[in-house]
């Protein structure tokens, strides 16, 4: 069906809503996380069982619900029963008891780790309770492959409002007033960017969506494209109208096959419905979108490199004395925004800039999606208002650190972000506040580290990633990072000298000041921030030649505690290097000459008898 105007969209929505509102639904998460926990098998089984038992219920495979750690996840509506960690063997019982009779199966409910209480509804779970889901509101509700689902929930109404009531300038004014800042890392005011692209002269203009999401540990953009692709398309349509662009591109990471599949399907559907193409909804707006798969290079997330890549070149950034809003793709004015930024646009138009502007802090408005990962109980994707404290995120939403370990640091901002220590846990997530702590917002990865993490090694790890991903075009980044990495490696090997710390700082500052693009300009952050907050750990490595968390291999050894060892021989059997000696029921010993410190004995010992010293 090709929609020709606003009234038609409204009547289609009413019709679809009437048709679907009476039906009960069961949503099974089909995001990458749950698929990795074999949710696809469950879906097949669920479909089969429901058909066999002849139950009147709609089965939906939705996008990510967020609590990936406990997947596969399922929600039965309207009761809102939330099941987790579902196994194929549970399906029969779910269908029989819950889908047929509305009964709740205790075993599959979420258990509050504090109180031990079983919680039935998604919203009762502390992980969800403190979140404010705007951009993610429909993830987990709608079937991303169905444009109808999106339309029922009010989808494309922001577009129709823009087309019928607003001028391009008014749209830009609204986005400016909302205070929205780019979610891709830089935090540039979105309305301001749109305005400069609108006024830039050019025979044609582009809007581009950055879905390269190269930050390891962050996957919100993927989940949005997978779970609610039409919201991104709608945002881009509104942007195209405001800026005056006819063509759009989505540059998506090649490692995200499901996101690619869903966005391509959504674009094809939008075309069929007359929401992309010529004279959209009977208006003067003509706009279409093409999808390009990236090649797996982190630097291609940078705006100028991304545009090089779209044109078929290696992704090497250029200096930005001329902005891409004036000369970007094919030297034409190009407006690049991140996936999450685009998905915020329909919300701002629908609810109004004044409403949006009330959420967040003076400098950072709206919500932000974070991927809360690492050493935290509830890992997954969360959406919270800007200004929430790191403590609330890690301890209330994340449920704290597993295994009774102590919190050590939280790393924000992607590989070139920084590590924030415990004393700043009450600081809030806000673009400027994170920057003032020597880190940054980045795209929203929050990696929690506990006392078993060695901060020197963490800095070395990030630097090794950045050395690998530096494109090599400018010397400070190419050579400077390499120098930083070799010093850090030396320190982790126990060969560090005290002068190294000054050298790290000096080289770090130099790379920051003189690199060509933001990759190099931020790359020393992991070193500088750990030096700022965890200097003691560096000194321990350099002076005492020790790594207390037991990570840097040259600086600790495994030893068996004579008191605790029962002589069960498990470690001896499991050691792949035959480095453990000792007879049954006798205390075992580790031959340090043979031991490579793989840690298997430490992991398998049931008596806590293997120690790191």
């Amino acid at each position: 069906m090709k929609l020709t105007g606003n009234e038609q969209l409204v009547s289609v929505r009413t019709h679809l809503t009437e048709k679907k509102s009476t039906l009960r639904t069961v949503s099974l998460c089909g995001g990458t996380g749950c698929r990795a926990s074999e949710s696809e098998k469950l879906l097949v089984l669920l479909r089969k069982t429901v058909t066999e038992k002849n139950i009147d219920i709609t089965i939906k495979e939705t996008g990510c619900h967020g609590l990936c750690e406990n997947g596969p996840l399922m929600v039965i509506r309207p009761e809102n029963i939330f099941y987790q960690r579902i196994q194929p063997s549970d399906i029969d019982e779910i269908v029989e008891k819950s889908l047929k009779n509305g009964e709740v199966i205790e075993r599959l409910l979420y258990e509050d780790p504090e109180t031990g209480r079983k919680l039935i509804k998604e919203n009762d779970i502390p992980f969800y309770e403190k979140q404010q889901r705007l951009v993610f509101a429909q993830n987990g509700h709608i079937d991303p492959k169905s444009i109808e689902d999106y339309i029922i929930t009010g989808g494309y109404s922001a577009l129709t409002r823009v087309l019928s009531d607003l001028s391009p300038e008014e749209v830009i004014g609204e986005v400016e007033k909302s205070g929205l800042r780019g979610r891709g890392g830089g935090g540039f005011p979105t309305g301001k960017k749109w305005k400069s692209c609108r006024i830039a002269p050019g025979s044609s203009k582009y809007v581009v969506c950055n879905a390269d999401e190269g930050d390891p540990g962050a996957y919100m953009d993927r989940s949005l494209l997978e779970g609610n692709p039409h919201s991104v398309i709608e945002g881009m349509l509104i942007g195209a109208f405001a800026i005056g662009a006819r063509e759009g591109r989505i540059y998506v990471r090649a490692e995200y096959p499901l996101a690619v599949e869903n966005i391509i399907k959504a674009i094809a559907d939008a075309r069929k419905w007359g929401l992309l193409g010529e004279k959209i909804l009977g208006s003067e707006l003509s706009f279409d979108i093409e999808v390009t798969k990236g090649g797996g290079a982190f630097v291609c997330g940078e705006s100028t490199a991304l545009m090089q890549s779209l044109q078929g070149y290696s992704g090497e950034p250029r200096t930005k004395h001329i902005h891409t809003t004036e000369s970007g793709l094919y030297n034409l004015p190009t407006n690049l925004n991140n996936v999450e930024t685009w998905a915020n646009i329909p919300i701002i138009i629908n609810r109004g800039a004044a409403w949006f502007n009330k959420i967040g802090t003076p400098g950072s408005k709206g919500t932000k999606i974070f991927s809360l990962v690492g050493k935290v109980r509830n890992t997954g994707l969360i959406e919270v208002p800007m200004g929430m404290s790191l403590r609330e995120i890690v301890f209330d939403i994340g449920g704290g650190i597993p295994g009774g370990r102590e919190f050590k640091a939280i790393q924000t901002g992607g590989p070139s972000g920084g590590c924030i220590p415990g004393q700043y846990l009450d600081r809030s997530v806000d673009f400027d506040e994170l920057t003032s702590l020597g880190s940054m917002m980045g795209s929203g990865g929050l990696i929690v580290m506990d006392e078993d993490t060695c901060m020197v090694e963490v800095a070395r790890f990030y630097l090794s990633f950045l050395v690998e991903e530096s494109c090599g075009k400018c010397t400070p980044c190419r050579e400077g990072l390499w120098q930083l990495l070799s010093i850090l490696t030396r320190i982790t090997e126990g060969k560090g000298k005290e002068e190294d710390l000054a050298a790290l700082e000096e080289i770090g500052e130099m790379v920051k000041d003189s690199s060509l693009c933001a990759l190099g300009k931020t790359a020393p952050n992991p070193v500088l921030s750990t030096l700022r907050y965890f200097k003691d750990e560096y000194m321990e490595h350099i002076v005492d030649k020790k790594c207390s968390p037991g990570v840097c291999r040259s600086l600790f050894q495994y030893k068996i505690d004579n008191e605790k060892c029962t002589g069960c021989m498990l470690c001896q059997v499991k050691c792949p290097y035959q480095a453990i000696e000792g007879r049954k029921k006798e205390v075992h010993t580790i031959d340090t000459a043979k031991c490579v410190k793989c840690g298997i004995c430490f992991e398998v010992c049931r008596f806590d008898a293997v120690k790191k010293v």
Binding site: A36, E69, E213, G217, Y219, F298, Q311, G312, V458, E603
Partner: protein, 150 residues
């Protein structure tokens, strides 16, 4: 298998098609042979050095043939803090090959990736398309035993 010539012919012969064409060849053959790189350069009328530079710039391309089974270990930050480094070593030991290598009999290739977007399940290893989450060094051997016995 689709021929390289056919793959090239499916795209508009413009410079923007270079990366998508190489991606499809990579997907079809698991690597970019010298011959295919030359054919692409000729097909798109691009200098060979340009095609070679793109083929070596992006991580998805490989100039070496790969094994029948591809093992990918996530080395992203979330997996790293949960001990991915030690897991990689265990896999290297278990398969008898280093990261980036292919076993002599062509059965396995071992690669690392920078995040599979399933960080909540880290540390993660993917064998072909199958995700194995929450891996510990002690589990590695068993996963491969099960895999080869299937």
């Amino acid at each position: 298998m689709k021929k390289v010539g056919k793959i090239i012919a499916d795209f508009p012969l413009t410079p923007e098609s270079l990366i998508p064409i190489l991606q499809e060849i990579q997907e079809e053959f698991n690597f970019l042979s010298e011959d295919s790189i030359k054919k692409v350069a000729a097909g798109l009328s691009l200098p060979l050095h340009h095609v070679y530079s793109v083929a070596t710039f992006y991580n998805v391309f490989s100039l070496k043939p790969k094994g029948r089974n591809i093992v990918k270990v996530c080395m992203g930050s979330a997996c790293h803090v949960r001990g991915a480094g030690r897991i990689l070593e265990e896999i290297e030991r278990s398969l008898g090959i280093k990261n980036g290598e292919t076993s002599a009999d062509g059965s396995f290739s071992l690669e690392t990736v920078n995040c599979l977007g399933a960080c909540a399940l880290g540390p993660i290893m993917v064998i072909n398309k199958k995700y194995n989450g929450h891996i510990t060094p002690a589990k590695v051997e068993k996963i491969f035993q099960e895999f080869t016995s299937q």
